[in-house]
Symmetry: C2
Subunit: 380 residues, 2 copies
Amino acid sequence: MKFLHTSDWHLGRQFHHVSLLEDQASLLAQLIDYIKNHSVDAVIIAGDIFDRSVPPTKAIELLNKTLNTICEELKTPVILIPGNHDSAARLNFGAKQMKASGLHIVSSFDQMVEPITIETKQAGLVSFYGMPYSDPESVKHHFQQPVSTHDEAHQLLADKIKDCFISEHKNVLVSHCFVDGAIESDSERPLSIGGSDRVSHEHFVDFDYVALGHLHQPQKKGAEYIRYSGSLMKYSFSEQHHKKGMTLVEFDKDGFKTSEHIDLKPRHDMRVIEGNMDEILQAAKSDPNNEDYVLVRLMDKHAILEPMEKFRTVYPNILHLEKPGMLVGVEQELGAASLKRSEIDMFEDFFQEAQKSSLNEAQKEVIEQVIQQLTCQSES
Amino acid sequence: MKFLHTSDWHLGRQFHHVSLLEDQASLLAQLIDYIKNHSVDAVIIAGDIFDRSVPPTKAIELLNKTLNTICEELKTPVILIPGNHDSAARLNFGAKQMKASGLHIVSSFDQMVEPITIETKQAGLVSFYGMPYSDPESVKHHFQQPVSTHDEAHQLLADKIKDCFISEHKNVLVSHCFVDGAIESDSERPLSIGGSDRVSHEHFVDFDYVALGHLHQPQKKGAEYIRYSGSLMKYSFSEQHHKKGMTLVEFDKDGFKTSEHIDLKPRHDMRVIEGNMDEILQAAKSDPNNEDYVLVRLMDKHAILEPMEKFRTVYPNILHLEKPGMLVGVEQELGAASLKRSEIDMFEDFFQEAQKSSLNEAQKEVIEQVIQQLTCQSES
């Protein structure tokens, strides 16, 4: 028996004011192709389906189309839970009516203890339990139990599920939480400050497999069978070295057998390019992936006129520019000399670039006077 | 064969800053009770399910709970279409997966020509066609046909559906539009100005029954079998004399047999009370329905201190106050005399009410001076 574990689709995400919907659609088309060409008995989406509680209609349409293909055409059941980015109440609409067609949206504690059971020759009966994203307050309120941390909440929820175990079934948990010690990245919305959102993997060891969502890097936690699949694609430049895709899990009659990362190839990679302006423009000429989403970290120490325009001619999808070289300069000057000196420096850079020649002494004197006058005016 | 025709639920509506959700829940509980106690083969909701494209989660939860009871517990199929207040794309999510459970959300032109067919001993095969709310632009764009008015759009859509008719089936249309000559009220959002939103009933005469939504007053249009059920409840004081509820339709082997209005009883009625302050307060003492949502039309011609507070002691759910008596006074004075005279009048009313005595001549002189000073200051 084989199932695909995915998470953190974040459909509808904008990144530096660019919609990623086309990129997401292309990755979901690859996921669908995989199911068409391989034996897959179920698909799990472990939360953060959408990027926000009220997603744009285009994102809803993409999810709808994707699920129609997987459930209706390919007859492959889908099990999904809301994450911290999703609205459980909005995702829950029609959930009962969808179950008959193999679309299982688990977004309440009542549904949590009603497993979706799939039977195969290879692995017998496997029960999938969805644990919708839940903060300690809502767990405390629902179960009327003293719960104050994410760890206590998830221990209680795991215990509720374990009470439902049927001895001859294998058991899979789907959960969206921050399992202790896992690696974070910039694009995961923080749950809380100071670590009180951490959950021990020990609450989950009795399951045969734990399909986690929330962290964007694929990784295991404490055991081979407690895993994050990672996000559908890179959602931050800090994820530039992450693997992205989905996890294929295989069960046999003894339960968990193997897991394997399946790469999904993005239309545009997301990466950081560092160097001086001239070096970067030169290297770009032979860069085969110049349509990637790039962040340029410009190391030049002098001011450059309209650098974004220059980079856009070679990297049309440049999204952001950092100037650590300039910052180093400013910091040094702030420590050592006056700010007026720095303004002259800036103007000399600008003049050099615009006129292709240096300021002569007479010109420099005029500019110094102008700067002095402007500074006096702004101080008066 | 019997089915319930309802429309214009507007779940999540606020009226004068008051949420009507509890009122709506109480009416839907009556609808459910009716299905429990009578033979009902289907329920139609002809659009404007929600009050806006992104409804509040409480409204989504109420609809979900209601549909779960009707479809899952009572095993009664539901056929619904979006109206002009709904987002078709948002309502469409999961629609394919819901059909197997008897929840039919028809929100695209593709689904429009795939009827939901219900078979009964009494009426044989009856096909229900949903026509999602559609403006001329989207019809023109989708079918690449020259369409510029609502009338042309609905003629084209009706023709598309008639092409799918199966000779031995009875045919029911569900549509959300403004059929020509129907009575309007304040709470229907205008579709357009100048009547270009009107649709002739003649496009619909070939159906056995036409379940319309959009207008809030129950009424027939051109034939007994082309009907508006009217809205779930009153959504405007202009609807104070409307009947509200749902329409029970009966079919036999020849198709349409009868239709009957079924009253739904609101927790709070919505009505207008007109009179002088003293008369209204006196009559309120013996008003058994003093918790109704009321608009008071106050006919007194003099200013009254904090009238809302006074009315709220007897009508706790007073929502709005109009003062046509005061307006008559202002209009007369604006025509005949200066505004300064009117301010003195207002102050005399206030003094009388606060002190229970009239201004004497000396007091009046002081006030006139103060008003004159203030007026000069504000003009300088």
